[in-house]
Symmetry: none
Subunit: 413 residues, 2 copies
Amino acid sequence: MGITAEIIVVGNEILRGLTVDTNSAYLGGQLESLGIAVQRTTAIGDDRCAIRGAVDAALKRSELVICTGGLGPTSDDVTKAAVAGLFRSRLVLNLAVLRSIERRFARRGVPMPAVNRGQALVPRGAAVLRNPQGTAPGLLLERRGKLVALLPGVPHEARAIWKGSLRRMTARLAGRGAFVHTTLRAFGLPESAIAEKLGRVEARLAPGELAYLPGTHGVDLRLTLSGPDRRRLRARLSAIERDIRTTLGPVIYARGDETMASVAGSLLIRRKLTAALAESCTGGLVGDRLTDVPGSSAYFAGSVVAYGNAVKTRMLGVAADTLRRHGAVSVETAREMARGVRRRLQADIGVAVTGIAGPGGGTKDKPVGLVCFAVAGPTGTSADTRVFNGTRRVVKELAANTALDLLRRHLNR
Amino acid sequence: MGITAEIIVVGNEILRGLTVDTNSAYLGGQLESLGIAVQRTTAIGDDRCAIRGAVDAALKRSELVICTGGLGPTSDDVTKAAVAGLFRSRLVLNLAVLRSIERRFARRGVPMPAVNRGQALVPRGAAVLRNPQGTAPGLLLERRGKLVALLPGVPHEARAIWKGSLRRMTARLAGRGAFVHTTLRAFGLPESAIAEKLGRVEARLAPGELAYLPGTHGVDLRLTLSGPDRRRLRARLSAIERDIRTTLGPVIYARGDETMASVAGSLLIRRKLTAALAESCTGGLVGDRLTDVPGSSAYFAGSVVAYGNAVKTRMLGVAADTLRRHGAVSVETAREMARGVRRRLQADIGVAVTGIAGPGGGTKDKPVGLVCFAVAGPTGTSADTRVFNGTRRVVKELAANTALDLLRRHLNR
């Protein structure tokens, strides 16, 4: 593999454990996908000398150095000054950057505080990388063919600048040597069961690599191949992907950046159907996920979050008798919730979730983590039950993803 | 402040972004609470020379070096060998460690795989730190009064060893000197405006420190003081906290681990009131946040997520005329949504959110990021409008947190 990179993370809050740094993992994965190996990540404090020393040392070892953090408007943000010092470059006011910061504040109807003016200072000779999400622009400096990029520490800003411009510039630097990868996303089987099923596929993968990345979203299968010829690699990748899909069947729900919500949304669009939700223990999380997808208003009617039993009866028409006989957490109640929301919100499909997120509220018969689901469509209603392990938040996330998975499987029938 | 420390994180999976390192943040916070400042955290790959070089360099700068990762049984786990090489110490079989590994496997009824025998090799002269959670023990080596600790990379194992023995040993090294800190959480003003207001407080803070940690939750203000006498530090911390609260007023919504949702929940409990939500652009996120708090069923009735206009009319009683004349995103619609959900869910307070999360759907009059809010109570309804910058997700999060903030301010009147 060609060039190497280092990442430098700046911020006292990182060293002191107040913030978990996720930028370096994001950038590490992104750089890897361009065939650039990250040699080292260094986290240091908001200290001019420490930053300057770390960037200098990294430039001696690697072709590309990406710094995150320390570009904010306050006095503890010193990354820019430190790197300008190392490059013996003066900080000069960039009027285009100043205007764009002023416009940001104007849009919010707020006068620009004086401290933000410092964010428009740019080391002479540095390229400005537009920040569509915040006031601190990214910066790119070059020395003897090696690059130093400065990004803000706020994760969504750093990502936006990376995607908007830095990725393209870095890819150019990376040059030849092919590297292909894809991620297949699985839901409904534990990591160990998937690994067992894929033993045969993995054996034929070398020198490629299959990484398992488990979470409440299921298990992501990250597949990487490298070699001299990109075309041949792509063909091999497609063959292996087909093999995995055949082995795991409907357990594979998505690929790449797709989410469970975006997949369910695409299926609703393709089948020209609308959906409505009746949520209890998830509190609104299923709808939150569905509406993270731009354009979801085309197929998502809305939800009733029926946290109390009275709301289940009044807003969803669940029979008081059903609640009394089977309880709020039961497939019977879930079925009536799904049918009720489908009818009242005049949607084609109703999806219901009711369960015990914990930590309290469990009984011997109905333990914490028990969640009942139902999907009601024009031809009938199906119901399912699961028991999840984990904290209140983990149970909510697993319940929300399972609800979306059941919707997806219903639409795929 | 007394001694300084460095953390070295070992693992290719970290550099390649497959795993987010949380050990260094945990250890950073723990060391800080002992008054030990972490100078630097370095992540490097599973490479013997890189590990040896990094530990050697760190020992030249700091009194304590903690390495995590690379203690597993497989061939890519080389931390122990690398550090033994640096200390010119031979690896010798430790029978007590071997017995405890064998016992672990025996308890699970599984014979010990041969590879795990390597985990019982210990550098001569190193102290063994018991691992109650796994097979790899922690190790502690000493050179000229400086310490190197090796911990496994699995987070719960590293934490168990830290708590079980390493914390005590480190505290002894740290000696005297007290260290107090607190976090105040602010919402409703940008970081730069808060910094301007707190200039006077900050000037009197030295040698203490005030860190600004911004996010969609607002701006966290982390206050740290150090000195010889803990009692006097605590008194000074209280005085500064009062000063900040006086300066910022209701902008400070919480302290420490409290969230906007837990604060709103506590106020509802204290005032014996219930709340219901009418959400549009947030899709259910406000309810998701409220129900992340255990016991929220005591005061949260439920929500209607009215994504489509038909649902706003049918489920919330918003007048068709209001929607026609003012549009779905308007304070008029927000007011009717809040009143409607309050009435229909029979709650004391109704909170409504309706806006344009983007990226599509904006017009010149109503841009992407425009969000209208209303809070309806027994004595009347108030409404607010904001324009947020950011991605769809960021707009949703800011809208949800603002809705909870308006509820909090309403309850505090």
